[in-house]
């Protein structure tokens, strides 16, 4: 599987390479396979979008990169190569020294992700001091500098505020400042805009992009919003039930999706600028239980196109993640023999009638 990766457009040595990552949680009811054989690579300065519903394993997988499952009952296996170092082979202490310095993470809800009893400045400076031999004064100055960088007005005064005195957007800016203060090579943003107002969302995404360019960081952005992916990501990885179901460059994947789950995600994105003839079609059913996932393709119980696959394969056999017809770098996990035809004939007219007419 390692050889079957999309061309990220970067040089051949990827900054981050995840290979057959598995995160399993033993529970009294059985083994929960939150991530089951995930592989992807990410070039320096590039952005990967990981998309999927709640419980598809997005956050669990990225927490594994940060080593946040260490000290829990989770069983993590596979390889995570960051700049050539296998993070899973490191000791806890070695991993801790990389956490926040080489890989850092921004979380979904900045209000609960920041400690309510410490000032914003203290929390940011703490992230700096743990990896640098700096005194309090220097760390504070650095925190103010970072707050300024992420666009907090009057940073020298706001540095002494507590998180609850910040607005939601400012809190997320402060979280970004905390995440980038050590100039990490990889930044993982776990649904960074989900808890924010729509108007603030765009600002935060712009800020992330600006800073990514400035710091030359690689970014993994976890989201369920394909709009965010379209704006931010170079590559997209669609996850379902702990596995990658479609993986390719953003442009290719969003224009020629080949997996019915991706079609479902596309159909359920509301777009105020789209023509009013387009319909908002939710994916039927609920995400599967990871404790007892469906046989065969995990998506088959919710798939509208499973009858087009001969021999009831969807129910019996798990499809491999293989290159599609169009492009070797576009991987999909689906039995459909001619997904492009189905997409153009059945899905596209539903969700974007305007596009069909133009074509």
């Amino acid at each position: 599987m390692v050889d079957a990766h999309p061309d990220t457009g970067s040089d051949t040595s990827s900054y981050l390479m995840v290979d057959d990552l598995r995160v399993h949680f033993p529970t009294p009811d059985g083994l929960v396979k939150a991530t089951d054989g995930l592989s992807f690579r990410l070039g320096r300065g590039k952005t990967l979008g990981i998309v999927g519903e709640s419980g598809s394993g997005k956050s669990v997988s990225s927490s594994a990169i940060l080593g946040l499952h260490r000290g829990t009952s989770a069983k993590v296996s596979g390889r995570i190569l960051l700049d050539g170092t296998d993070l899973l082979a490191l000791s806890d202490e070695q991993m801790r020294q990389r956490r926040g310095k080489e890989v850092s993470m921004i979380f979904q809800d900045p209000l609960s992700a920041m400690h309510p009893y410490f000032t914003v400045g203290k929390q940011i400076a703490e992230a700096y001091r743990v990896h640098h031999d700096a005194n309090k004064k220097a760390a504070r100055a650095r925190a103010i500098e970072m707050l300024d960088r992420v666009g907090i007005p009057q940073p020298d005064r706001r540095v002494d505020d507590y998180p609850h005195q910040f607005s939601g957007g400012m809190r997320q800016r402060a979280m970004i400042a905390m995440g980038l203060i050590n100039n990490p090579g990889l930044l993982i943003a776990d649904e960074p805009t989900t808890a924010l107002d729509v108007t603030v969302q765009a600002q935060i995404l712009d800020l992330l992009q600006d800073l990514q360019r400035e710091f030359d960081s690689s970014v993994i952005i976890i989201t369920h919003d394909l709009g965010v992916v379209a704006e931010m990501a170079d590559d997209v990885l669609v996850m379902y039930a702990g596995r990658a179901v479609e993986y390719g460059s953003t442009k290719e994947l969003l224009t020629h999706p080949e997996m019915p789950y991706t079609w479902g995600l596309l159909s359920s994105v509301p777009d105020v600028t789209a023509d009013t003839g387009g319909r908002l079609v939710p994916i039927p059913g609920n995400p599967p239980s990871l404790l007892n996932p469906p046989q065969g393709c995990a998506f088959h119980p919710r798939c509208l196109h499973r009858d087009k696959v001969p021999g009831d394969l969807c129910r019996t056999a798990l499809p491999e993640l293989l290159p599609g017809k169009r492009f070797a770098g576009h991987l999909k996990r689906c039995h459909l023999p001619d997904p492009d035809v189905v997409y153009e004939r059945e899905v596209l007219p539903e969700i974007a009638p305007g596009l069909v007419e133009e074509a």
Binding site: R96, R99, K101, P116, Y117, V130
Partner: protein, 338 residues
């Protein structure tokens, strides 16, 4: 902040006034005749009438309450009889402000009674408090950090056992075995600092303090464990780990800080309640504290003493409440007092 404190103090004073009225009302609602009690078993109707008159029990209870309230501010004479003051001033006990009453039963002002007994109760409460907070928080944190292990189960199980043991039972066990049978400590008898020095005072408090501390500690172990576990699963603890902070810093600076806030509240109120006397423990060890005094006053229908003790305890609890609320604002910046 200042306005908040003023408001809370005013509310507290009103509460104390209400408490005192309720105490008077409850006392007179009781079917027992206090004058009969004061007069004794072989008391004729005429003698009883004289006694009731002398003690003021014939007045309406609100009038009695008003006399009591006046005494708090200007002091009182017992009995309050101008004629007697002229003829036999030596029979009159003066109780200076703030006078909490005069106990004919104990021929002493309530203030003096409290002055004698409060140090005993306060000493026991303080010693027990130190033991139970240190032990409770320490074992609670250990149990939370070792969650699911045999250490955790052992601590939680033990605390359940100790929580179920009544203090009189623990106290008697300690008394019988530790003090009498094994002779590890002297037979417990309250010693003041003036008499026995710090070490004498401290060792005299050992058994009663352990008796109380074991019971409270059991609750605090479970409470601390729950709060620490809750706080360890908070998002900001994950953030702290994601920053690359060492596990020690994550646990003790980030997780524990938040977990201890509710414990401070509980501890403040429990301590205040205990200051008012540990009735059972003081009785078991026969320590002359507020709790033992309260039991005796209750048995003798000694209204002045009872009112004084009830009000004292009310003051402790109200003051502790205000202090705890102020402390909360210091600990948690989100709390703005207004």
């Amino acid at each position: 902040m200042f306005a908040y404190i003023v408001r809370r103090v005013i509310a507290g004073v009103i509460l104390i006034v209400v408490m005192s009225i309720v105490t008077f009302a409850l006392f007179f609602a009781s079917p027992v005749d206090p004058a009969q009690f004061a007069c004794g078993k072989n008391c004729s109707a005429a003698q009883k009438e004289v006694t009731a008159d002398a003690l003021g029990y014939n007045d309406n209870f609100m009038v009695q309450w008003a006399k009591f309230a006046k005494g708090v501010f200007v002091g009182r004479d017992f009995p309050d009889d101008p004629e007697l003051k002229e003829t036999a001033p030596q029979t009159i006990a003066h109780c200076p402000a703030p006078c909490l009453g005069y106990s004919t039963e104990r021929t002493s002002t309530v203030n003096d009674l409290i002055e004698r007994t409060l140090p005993v109760s306060a000493s026991i409460a303080l010693a027990a408090f130190v033991l139970w907070i240190l032990g409770g928080v320490l074992f609670g944190v250990i149990a939370a950090l070792k969650r699911g292990t045999i250490i955790d189960r052992g601590l939680v199980g033990l605390s359940l056992v100790f929580y179920a043991l009544p203090t009189f039972f623990t106290g008697l066990l300690l008394y019988k075995f530790v003090a009498i049978q094994w002779g590890w400590v002297d037979i417990p008898r309250y010693t003041t600092i003036a008499d026995g020095g710090l070490s004498g005072w401290g060792s005299s408090l050992l058994l009663p303090a352990i008796t109380l501390a074991v019971f409270f500690m059991a609750g605090y172990v479970r409470m601390t464990r729950a709060y620490v576990l809750e706080s360890l699963s908070e998002d900001y603890v994950r953030t702290a780990r994601a920053k690359g902070l060492p596990p020690r810093t994550v646990t003790f600076k980030h997780a524990l800080r938040a977990a201890l806030t509710p414990i401070v509240t509980m501890a403040g109120l429990d301590f205040a309640g205990l200051l008012g006397g540990a009735i059972i423990t003081e009785s078991v060890f026969n320590y002359p504290g507020l709790g033992k005094l309260a039991v005796q006053a209750n048995r003798d229908f000694d209204l002045p003493t009872l009112v004084g003790l009830v009000l004292l305890l009310a003051v402790f609890v109200i003051v502790a409440n205000i202090i705890v609320d102020l402390l909360y604002a210091v600990i948690d910046p989100r709390v703005r007092l207004s």
